[in-house]
Symmetry: C2
Subunit: 126 residues, 2 copies
């Protein structure tokens, strides 16, 4: 299983992007997409601890790709990754354009592509 | 008044991004943000005719900046702009990263920046 984690100040943005990726990746794909937008009170803002819990719970994912929106959403990713015990299989793409790169990674991952192939595909956004 | 128009297959994404920009741009700003995501039935997809209506109705905006997400959202922008009678003050940034560039344009525009200043600020994403 491949994991894609979407981080933004806005839960609407990450929920919408999750729907978009899941619709394009299709049923029966080897992909799980997690929406980690907003604070735990549902407000605009970031929540590194919820992100950490999400990452820790994704034990069935061989590789996890993390994408983030503007501003401190990127800092939330850094904080969570610093606190994560086993982060070797977690790849931080929070400097990449959120919608475009997560969408591309999702479609590419759903075809069974390797980490190297996905990373190469994402270089167009770097 | 400056207009920012957000286009995506997903209404959740454009609604969330509108909220994010409005929160950061603050009250009393000279900025209006329009969310044009999804189809007119509320499904995932694009809707060039609704976008055209939105642009035509923004008669109080001296400059309008259009941002779009992946895939045919960009084509919806092209279609709407081709059909728009007076498109000289409408600036197409649909090739730019949706969240990051619209957010940056919104913050920059809310300070009273000119088209040239906003365009220059957005070059970091080109």
């Amino acid at each position: 299983m491949i994991g894609i984690v979407l981080v933004s100040h806005s839960k609407k943005i990450t929920d919408g992007l999750k729907e978009l990726i899941e619709q394009m990746a299709g049923d029966g794909s080897n992909l799980v997409v997690k929406s980690n937008g907003g604070t735990d009170e549902g407000e605009l803002g970031s929540n590194p601890m919820e992100l950490l819990s999400t990452l820790e719970a994704m034990t069935d994912c061989e590789e996890i790709y993390v994408f983030a929106g503007v501003g401190s959403a990127k800092m939330a990713v850094e904080t969570a990754l610093d606190m994560l015990d086993d982060a070797e299989h977690v790849h931080d793409f929070s400097d990449y354009p959120l919608v475009e790169s997560a969408f591309t990674a999702g479609i590419t991952a759903s075809t069974g592509a390797s980490y190297e192939q996905i990373k190469a595909e994402l270089q167009q956004f770097n």
